[in-house]
Symmetry: D2
């Protein structure tokens, strides 16, 4: 089986952590490297958290890079109110001993894309699009070499989660998002519309804990911490597992369905700043630039997740 | 029984027509007058259509006024692609013989509110908010005298119907909407989120036709013309009966449920112009200014509609 | 001599007062009526001030109307910091005894334009454009009947006076301005670029006082109060006589020079809200819609002013 | 004499060329390197033109780097209509033989600032602020180490040159400008208000040609080509020597005068996109972040220019 070659750009975050574990547990994927970006918490924490998760999975060999320390234009907004002070509150994971790579994460993205066969590398973004935008700004030649960008970001029918209309990953660097959606690269977008249907119910967390492994235990503990925010806010049964949807899509795309349409990023108004305006019904002349997912087989998704976490 | 006293501001439009018929067939309501506004079609047609519907219902005594001929700031956008060239395509209704009142519709609204007991008159808006905004601009003292504005307008979780984010009534005069939502008047809003759940399925149209009355026949024919647009666009079973939701709410509010929250109108960006930004989850500091409906008992709604149309 | 027939729309304001006096002292002009609008101070004061000035000039026969009490969309911003609490601080003028007309000022504008021969009535606006916009919204047929709108408003090379980019009259009702500039009516605009060159230096005020008349004395006292704001802010010798430039232009247009070009009104950004964007160099495709004055013969202007005030 | 250490970021452009020559001819300055950026023409031309000018001045030893190939968020707009197809139309300069440095221009800026003593390096930007913004985004620690940014950019009382309100350098990367003006770095800004007073009149060009040197001849020929655009557009006597003002300020700051105030960059509206909103009169609460020059001793400036060109 030819493995799909990916770079994961991430800002752990408990749901990022689960996404990384899902990827590490999936033989269909070859992870060329991971890039940490500022987002849920500052870069110094997201890069450390990324390494912690690699070590939790017994994979200190995966190269981890530090990417952008701040968004392109505006100052950084973080989300400790969701993820806790460390970004990974919940389980007590040891300090990582594996190294952070010297190379800048943006250069890693550029160099990988310029070196590998065009059309063979997929970018999986689990946070703000800053690194991808900086890579595109620095080396526009990478655009046609990217196989696909699969991103967690945005929301339309579900509204936003940081403002009434904006989802966090897009909001914190809407200019980067504007640039990426204009780059002509194939994009698959996992918005809140999907991820809010992938809730970590008590039964689902229990199934993860029941794995009886270190990874299962840490993941369950993480999710119990993580879900409290959304349970309080939405009264839902569990928290939305945003980022793992990106990885699940790479392995079992049939779990998701959506529509190819235009997505425009609002950067010109404070009221709706960071909104992903999806032309779902094709009422504008704007060119289709993304496949926007809307439905998920949530049971299938959690089945896949438990199975793969169990392999670690 | 004390009847609820209302002014209907409308731009017929087939769904406006059904709303007017529903109101005329409901003894709980006392219609002080109707004001036609430019919208679905130009004013010369909406005022004529309003009179046609009154005559269809055998109620040439209801005073009908002509209101705003254009939006406050921008030029008029119409919707013949939905409603047909006359705004009321479908049944072959005779030219009206009842008079149009001389007084300007905006003056009728102002004079009524300044004359009647404060807090006794409800404004039911089925089109753009131009007339209400012009009345508020001309005579701000009316604001605290309005009992409530019940409007069809906006959309949030459902998106828009004229652009990806904007509903037609708000879009065509977003400045009027901005003004009305800032006026401190109690507002109940029936957005697309509700009205797209009130579809004129073949069975429901058949039940209206089965009334065997002139009104039933005309309404069924109207709805068959009207629904084709939405059926084509959304693949839905029938068209959304937007405006009658406003009247149904006045009679049986228990058919609807929603939430009191802030609604802000986007006027500063072309991309999202005319959007009703609903702070459903209370994530901003913005003051609550509207009750936004989200759910409807559609069967109960159509049951009410058939019953009341049958009384005409 | 055929006199030019005008309606003055005004928000006195000391410079409005001087403009009104200049008009009343000029036989070339026939004042059909004056409409007061909310602006420098609330409407209750501007309409009273307008009547005070008519009486100061011995002209209680001029019909004075009350127009808009607030801007179209946003709430009213006033300028007591410039004009004082009454709007006319300085001289001690008696309470007016002449009546305020019953008719709404906007209706006066509409009725006059619909009654008089098309192309014979000029609107002179010395405040926000609310009344004109409301008249255009209510009766668009007036647009082609207006001979010309001569307005004090805007600023470009000189910047703004209420924000770095916005002049007060446009700022307080930018939506009205947007509507008026899109109406297809011939517009002559007296921006800050002109009016800041018409400063009430001590010598010029002295010449007015030297008239030795009641009007001369009151005007000089008014200007001494009025100029303190600009003298403090700009370190200039005297205050800018904004509004009288409009009237002077009607009498001696050769005192002014400018350019026919496009003016667009910024309403989509808070930072530059209310700016009059003048395409002076013709670098856009936007249609020419206004003659924007830039230069003034200030000595000629003050000579005219003294002469005409002397005739009252 | 301690020489002022500078990095020149540039997009030649004839006026960039003159600025570079002025810098190379001035012993007060130590040029650590030059970075070419996309702007007047694409990067491939601006980096070549930068090297051409170094060789014209007999200074192939100055390291020249290629910086950003495109703006941060939007696509590149160029100005061949002003500068000609090559960006340096006019004289026939030989292809350069000196090398372009391998290191990315943004990395050169970062590495220099992180290596040199803090507060000793001045950035002179003669084009879009893309490189500086990318450096700040990639390594925010450079901000407090920059002595000063002296930039050609913006315009206020003079309006813009690419749109009615926007100057070209800011317009083509307004997001970069927004970021740089928010970075807390001391900024001195040479806007069109200054540079439009530094016109290359025939006498001034003649004085340069009269140097009788290769540099003088090439410069005069360049300016004759360059000025035609502004002479046609403005009817002025000569073209504005924008970029050399930056260098002249470093050598003889007393040639310029201005004011320390707030500058905000408009990025939220298409109409005024890229405007530098200068709060010259201090009417807002916004923090002072730039010294905005407004006046220039143009004769002194050209005297300095001729003298220094003569030394090459
Ligand atoms: Ca994430
Ligand atoms: Ca309607
Ligand atoms: Ca005034
Ligand atoms: Ca340049």
């Amino acid at each position: 089986m030819a493995r799909r070659r990916i770079i994961i750009d991430t800002d752990p975050g408990q749901d990022d952590a689960v996404a990384i574990l899902l990827a590490l547990g999936s033989p269909e994927l070859e992870i060329l490297g991971m890039v940490a970006v500022a987002g849920n918490v500052p870069l110094a924490l997201t890069e450390k958290n990324t390494r912690k998760i690699c070590e939790l999975a017994g994979r200190p060999d995966v190269p981890v890079y530090a990417g952008a320390v701040r968004p392109l234009v505006r100052t950084l907004v973080t989300a400790e109110h969701v993820h806790g002070e460390t970004g990974l509150n919940g389980p007590d994971l040891p300090e990582p001993t594996m190294p952070l790579q010297d190379k800048h994460g943006v250069d890693f993205i550029i160099d990988t894309l310029m070196t590998e066969e065009p059309g063979t590398v997929t970018l999986c973004t689990l946070g703000a699009l800053t690194d991808v935008a900086m890579a595109l700004a620095r080396k526009p030649e990478i655009a046609p070499r990217i196989k696909e960008i699969v991103m967690m970001g945005g929301g339309f029918f579900e509204g936003g989660n940081i403002t009434p209309t904006a989802e966090f990953n897009i909001y914190i660097d809407a200019h980067a998002a504007e640039m990426v959606f204009a780059a002509g690269v194939p994009i698959t977008m996992m918005p809140l519309d999907v991820t809010h249907k992938a809730l970590s119910s008590p039964e689902r967390i229990a199934a993860i804990r029941a794995l009886g492994t270190k990874v299962g235990e840490a993941t369950a503990t993480m999710l119990e911490f993580y879900e409290r925010f959304d349970v309080d806010k939405y009264g839902s049964r569990g928290g939305p597992l945003h980022d793992p949807c990106v990885i699940a899509y790479l392995i079992q795309p049939e779990l998701f369905s959506g529509r190819h349409c235009n997505v425009a990023i609002e950067t010109g108004s404070e009221l709706t700043y960071g909104m992903t305006v999806v032309d779902w019904w094709g009422v504008t002349e704007r060119k289709k630039n993304a496949t926007v997912m809307r439905e998920i087989d949530a049971d299938g998704f959690y089945k896949l997740l438990v199975e793969r976490l169990g392999s670690l």
